[in-house]
């Protein structure tokens, strides 16, 4: 069975669910809006212009996670997975198509979001953003797209493993909002390699942890890859 038709099918499934399209819009709106607000209130000793511009990603990622999770969890409602796997019995290929269909739109929206954040952030910050170089700006935009994509994939993989969007979101959201905020400031600890902390180094003008921006995204990618592999294992092994 060829991959392209399966991918086409999965793409139709994503664009025909309003909640998923809405989730993608939310990624853009939430990230850009919160970044703009952060720019308005941007005083303090440890001000970092790039972090300020992409501050909203911490919140926009919730929408990306919800998107990745919902795209997969819709298969675990009312026997939908059976219909999907009866159409595409090659389960590994099916799940790969699902992952690509989740990743591609998040990457596209994430890149646009990054661009919007950069433009809005520069406008809001004014002179305070003068120190930002083009390469830093580009790093932030690309990082925004890649980071959000990786988080959506992390959620997608975890949902396939747990077979439930609710379970996934009730693990990931508290994790991102609480655990990561609480221990996230403790640099030099295990917090540096948490999926969100590691990936968000890409939004720092200067970093003091062991991971640089690209290495940090690499660590996040490892987390996502692990979640996807676990999800694929579950889809392949378990009865539908």
């Amino acid at each position: 069975m060829a991959f392209t038709p399966v991918l086409h099918s999965e793409w139709i499934k994503i664009r025909t669910l309003r909640s998923l399209v809405g989730g993608l819009c939310a990624v853009l709106l939430v990230t850009a809006a919160i970044s703009a607000l952060a720019g308005v209130d941007s005083d303090g000793a440890d001000f970092d212009a790039l972090s300020s511009v992409f501050f909203g990603v911490s919140f926009g990622q919730i929408a990306a996670i919800a998107f990745g999770s919902t795209a997969v969890s819709s298969e675990f409602q009312g026997g939908a997975l059976r219909v999907s796997l009866a159409a595409v019995p090659h389960r590994g290929r099916w799940f790969a198509a699902k992952a690509v269909a989740v990743a591609a739109p998040v990457l596209a929206v994430g890149l646009v979001t990054g661009g919007v954040c950069l433009a809005v952030g520069r406008a809001v910050l004014g002179a305070k953003a003068d120190g930002l170089t083009w390469s830093e700006g580009l790093r932030g935009v690309v990082g925004c797209g890649v980071y959000l994509t990786l988080m959506a994939l992390l959620a997608a993989g975890l949902t396939a493993l747990l077979r439930s969007g609710v379970a996934t979101l009730s693990i990931l959201i508290p994790f991102l909002l609480i655990v990561s905020f609480v221990i996230g400031d403790l640099s030099g600890t295990v917090a540096d390699v948490l999926p969100d902390r590691a990936g968000q180094v890409v939004f720092d003008e200067t970093w003091d942890g062991p991971l640089g921006p690209w290495a940090g995204l690499g660590v996040t990618a490892l987390w996502s890859a692990a979640a996807l592999l676990a999800g694929a294992w579950s889809v392949r092994r378990r009865d539908a």
Partner: protein
């Protein structure tokens, strides 16, 4: 040949055997009714045939191949397992389009099956607004999408209105007449009797019967004759004289077991007993099925015979 071949198929969930060493074939050109009480293993068997569940042992093949090895399987096998499978927030048309795309089925087929199942006018409505009967039709539309030679339907008449039940009956007959292999599960006897040519009966995961429906009924239900007379005493007398086992019913008619109309008619005529009514009572699938399950040792329910 486009048969479904199930060979020594077993599926265990923990310690429970849902399907127990099942062997049978479903042949093309006829409707095979798949019968058994709830929990007998019908749906599990269908999932095993479709490669959705992994068998503990044994094999299931379609046209000689395991389902998982089929390329673009919807073009060969169509299945309805669960009417709730379509996502409520998607329209019927989008649901079918996504399925069609995965197997490179032309888009035109989507509109064709929507038309065929009577959903064309509501195809752009979201599935959550559908009644159970409409969802059932959508599931059947999905099964027919790839114009498959093999069709498996799990309880297709569930939730259908009387018109829908007649429609599904005609559809099943037509699919079989076109030479397709049709397996339809049900726990409704009268419904199954109206469309099946052949029966596969399960009980607690085991095969109880695999026979043509007529034979199944004839082998299990003795023919009976229904008689009504204006002279009960005389009738009773001559029937007893000739060793017939007759029972009188409250509304005044009699049933004579193990008899044929020819015998009773001639007997009454020769004895001058006036007959108001004389009819052969065909055994029903329901009677035959109850007889089968009553005699099976696995079933602890008491005999249904009066």
């Amino acid at each position: 040949m486009t048969s479904i071949d199930v060979q020594d198929l077993t599926k265990e969930y923990g310690t429970r055997r849902a399907v127990d060493a099942l062997t049978f074939s479903v042949r093309p050109g006829r409707v095979t009714g798949f019968l058994g009480p709830n929990g007998a293993g019908k749906s599990t068997t269908m999932r095993l045939v479709l490669g959705l569940d992994r068998p503990t042992s044994g094999t299931a093949t379609l046209a000689g191949r395991p389902y998982a090895t089929l390329t673009e399987p919807l073009r060969h096998v169509g299945a309805l397992l669960d009417a709730q499978a379509a996502h409520g927030s998607r329209t019927a048309r989008d649901h079918l389009r996504a399925l069609a795309a995965s197997n490179r089925i032309p888009r035109g087929r989507v509109d064709e099956v929507l038309e065929e199942t009577g959903l064309a006018s509501v195809a752009r409505r979201r599935v959550k607004t559908y009644s159970l009967g409409m969802r059932q039709r959508l599931g059947i539309a999905a099964a027919l999408l790839g114009d498959p030679e093999i069709v498996l339907l799990d309880e297709p008449s569930n939730g259908l209105d009387p018109e829908g039940i007649i429609w599904i009956r005609q559809l099943l007959r037509r699919l079989a007449a076109e030479g397709r292999t049709v397996l339809v599960s049900s726990h409704l006897m009268n419904e199954t009797a109206s469309f099946a040519d052949h029966l596969v009966v399960l009980g607690r995961g085991r095969l109880l019967a695999d026979t043509p429906m007529r034979e199944f009924i004839h082998a299990r239900v003795q023919p009976r004759v229904r008689v009504r007379t204006s002279d009960p005493t005389a009738l009773k007398h001559i029937l007893a004289q000739h060793g017939h086992d007759a029972a009188e019913h409250e509304d005044g008619h009699w049933t004579v077991r193990h008899a044929r109309v020819d015998d009773i008619g001639l007997l009454a005529s020769a004895s001058g007993v006036p007959l108001l009514e004389l009819a052969a009572e065909e055994g029903t699938l329901e009677q035959a099925y109850l007889d089968l399950t009553a005699t099976e040792t696995e079933f602890t329910a008491p005999s249904q015979e009066a």
